[in-house]
C-alpha cells in the first residue's frame, strides 16, 4: 500500500496528460469551410437570439439561414475577410459584430474588465500594505523562545480547528 500511495501523484500526472493529449491528433477542416466559419464566428445572428451566426440553430430561423447563405456567397468571391465583414455591417449595422469594435465609446466595453482588475489589484495591495503596517505598529510583547512560539502555533491551530 505504501508503494501504491507513493506512486499516486505520478499516476495522476500520466492519466491527466494522456487523457488530454489525444486532442492533438484531431484533423483540420477543408480550407474554404474553415474560412467561412471563422468569419461567421465574428458575426451575430440578427434574429435577436444574441448567438454567434454559425451557432444559431433555431429551428426555422430564417434570419440565420439568409445570413449564412450570404456568407457563403461572399466567401466564394474570395474577398478579404474585413471586406466581407464590412458588407454585413452595411446591411445590419455594427450590432452584427459579435464583439464591440475597439473604437470610440465602444472601447469602454474592453476597458471595464481590465480597469476593474487594475483598480482592484491596487486596492488589494494597498490594503495588504496597510494591514501589515498596523501589525508592525502594534506593541510588541516580551520576547518568546522558539519552543514557546511553536507551542503557541500548535495551540492556535487547535483553536482554529472546525
Amino acid at each position: 500500500m505504501k508503494g501504491t500511495t507513493k506512486l499516486l501523484p505520478l499516476a495522476l500526472v500520466v492519466v491527466l496528460a494522456l487523457a488530454l493529449s489525444h486532442l492533438a491528433w484531431l484533423p483540420a477542416y477543408a480550407q474554404q469551410t474553415e474560412r467561412a466559419k471563422n468569419i461567421g464566428k465574428r458575426l451575430l445572428c440578427m434574429c435577436n437570439c444574441n448567438q454567434i451566426l454559425t451557432a444559431c440553430n433555431h429551428v426555422g430561423c430564417s434570419t440565420s439561414a439568409a445570413m449564412l447563405k450570404k456568407l457563403d456567397q461572399v466567401v466564394a468571391r474570395n474577398e478579404p475577410e474585413d471586406l466581407t465583414v464590412q458588407s454585413f455591417i452595411q446591411e445590419w449595422g455594427e450590432r452584427v459584430l459579435a464583439e464591440p469594435p475597439a473604437k470610440g465609446f465602444n472601447r469602454l466595453a474592453w476597458f471595464i474588465p481590465g480597469g476593474a482588475f487594475a483598480l482592484g489589484l491596487v486596492l488589494v495591495i494597498v490594503v495588504i500594505a496597510h494591514w501589515r503596517r498596523r501589525m508592525t505598529l502594534a506593541p510588541a510583547g516580551p520576547s518568546v523562545s522558539p519552543d514557546a512560539l511553536s507551542r503557541a502555533r500548535l495551540q492556535a491551530d487547535q483553536e482554529t480547528e472546525e
Binding site: 499516486l8 501523484p9 496528460a17 484531431l26 444574441n50 429551428v59 476593474a116 482554529t160
Partner: protein, 686 residues
Amino acid sequence: MDLFGSFALLLAFVCAVYAIGVGIAAILSRRPLLNKSARQAGMAVCVLITLAMGSLVYLFLTDNFSLAYVVGHSNRDLPTFYKFAALWSGQEGSLLFWSWLLSIYVFSVLYSYRAKHPELMPYVGVVLASVQLFFLILNVFIASPFKVLGALGPGGAMQVITQADGKGLTPLLQYPEMVIHPPMLYSGYTGFTIPFAFALAALLGRYPGEKWIHVTRKWTMIAWCFQSAGILLGAHWAYAVLGWGGYWAWDPVENASLMPWLTGTAFLHSVMMQEKRGMLRVWNVWLVFSTFLLCILGTFLTRSGVVSSVHAFAQSNIGPWFVGFLGLIVAVCILAFLKNRDYLRSDNQLDSMVSRESSFLFNNLILLVACVAVLSGTLFPVLSEWVQGTKISVGAPFFNKVNIPIGLFLLFLTGVGPLLAWRKTSAESLRRNFGWSLLGGLAAGAIAYPLGFRDFYALVCLILSVFVTLTIAAEFFRGARVIRARAGLNFFSAVGHLTMRNTRRYGGYVVHFGMVLIFIGLAGTAFNQDKQMEMAPGSKMEIGAYTLVCQTFTSRPEQNYTAERATIEALRNGQQVMMLYPERRFYPANEQSGTMVAIYSTLKEDLYVVYAGRSPETQQPVIHVYLNPLVKWIWLGGAIVVLGTILALLPNRQAVLVMRAATQPVSAAPAPQPVSATLRSYEGHD
C-alpha cells in the same frame, strides 16, 4: 379552483403585511408574544402559497382552459410530466413558483431558529417578510397566474370563456431536464435571500458576536449548491436541446445566473477570514448584499425584456417594479450600513503577504472582476444604445477573451490558496507544499506539448489542472498517512476518516477537484470540430475517428408532436459503436418545431449529431455533426462540486461522537480517543 388560488395568494399577502407590521412592533416593544405572532404569520405565508401552487397544479392537470395561463402553456396532449414543468414556463407561473420556493426557505428558517437568537430573529423575520411581500404584490396584483378568460356578455355581464384546447408548452421546454433545472436555479436565487436577511438583520440589530456569520455561511452554501446545480443543468439542457453544439453561449439569462454565483463564491471564501480572524466584516456584509442584489437584477434582466435573449421572458410590465425594488434594497442597505458601520469595525492586521488571508483577498478580487466583466458585457448593449443611440452587441467572443485569463488565474489560486498557512507561510512550507505539484503540472505540460497540445490557454489549463489536482491529492495523502499510522487503517479508510473529521475543509477540496474537472472540460472547447452535409440513406460522413452512415430517415406521429428522425450508424475503426437517432419535432398545438440531439458521449469526446432539417432542393436530411472533446468532464465535475458541497455541509464526525456520548449512559459511551499532536496540527488549517 382559480378563485381558491387567488384567495390563498391574497391571504398570503395579508399575512406578509401582518408579519412585517407586527415584527416591527416586536422589535420596538421587545414583547415575545408579538414576535411569536409575527413568526407564525410568516410561516402561514408558506402554507397559503403552497395551497395556491396546489390549485394551479390542479388546474393544469385537469386541463382547465378557462384560465389564461393554462391556455398559454399547456394543451390536452401534453404529457402529465410536462404539465408540472408548464407551471414555471411563463412569467406568472414562474413568479408564483419563485414565491413558493422562497416561502419554503422562510418557513424553514423561522421554524429552525424559533428558539434561537431571540435578539436577531425578529429582524430576520421582518426582512424575509418584506422580500416575500414584494413577490406577493407581483403574484396578486401584477402578474397573477389565476386570471380567467372572459368576455362581456349580454347585459354587460362578464362571462367566463373556456377554450377547447391550449396553445401547448414551448417545444424547447419539453425535455426532462426542464422539470428539474428551473427548480434548482430558482432554489439558488431564492436561497440567497436568507443570507441577505441575516446580514441585514445583524447590521440593523447590531447583533453582537460572529454567530450570525456561521448561520449565513451555512445558508449561502445551500443556495450556492442549488445555484451550481441549476447552472450546470441549464448548460446541459442547452447542450442537449438547442442543438448548436455548445453548452454556454454567454446569453444574458445565463450571465444573470452566473453573477450571483460568482459573488456567492467570493463570500464563501472571505467569510473564513471573518470566522477565523474577525477580519473583513464590512466586505462580507457587502458581498452578501451584492449577491442578493444580483439575484434581483438578474431576474429583472430576464423578465423585463431590457436585454435580448433567446430564452428570456417576453417583454412585460413588471420591469419598473423590479427597478423600484432594487432601488429600495440599495437604499436600505446603504442606510443601514451608514447608520451602523461602527458595528462592523474590525481590527484587520496581516503578518505577511504570503498567507492564507492575502490569497483570499486575491481570490475575491478575481471573482469580483469576473462578475464585473460579465455584468458590464451584459449591460453594455443597453448602455451603448443609451449613449450613442446605436445598439452594440456583446457576444461570446468578448466574454471568452475577457474571462478565460480570469478563470485560469482563479484555477491557479484554487491550488495555491488552501495550502497557504494563516498569518504567514514560510519558504520551506511553500517548497514542501507546492514543489512536487508544480513540477507535476509542468511535466504534464511537457508531455502534452510535443504531442501537439499547442493551444496556449488549453495548455495552461492542463498544467494548472494537474497542479491543483496534485495539491489536493497531497493534502488528502498527508492527512491520511497520519491517520493510517495512528489507527492502523488502510489508506482509503484513512481518507474517509480524515474527510469526516473535518468535512468543511475536505468537502471544500472535493469542490475544488470538481472545478478542476470542469476546467478540463472547458479546455476541450479549443479542439471542437464540426461538419454538415446532406445525407441520403447509405451516404457516409467522416469526422475525427468516426464514420457516420445514414441508414434511414422516417417520419412518425407521437402523442404531442410529429417527429422526423434519421437513423445514423456511428462506426469507429470500422466497428459499430452506436446507433444514433437525431430528431426534428413539430408540435401542432403551437406550430413550433424543436430538435432532439443524439449524443454518443465518452470521457474522451462527444459525438453530437443534429438533424438540421431537409434540404429545400433535394429533400434529403441535412445532418450537422460536432465532435466535442471532454464535455463529459464538465458534467462529472459538476456532480462532484455538488457532492463536495453536501459533504462540506455535514457535521464533523468528531462533533457527532461527542454529542452522542453526552446523551448516552456513561458505561455505554465510548471514551474519546486522544488525538495526536501531529494529527491536530494537520487539521488546524481550514
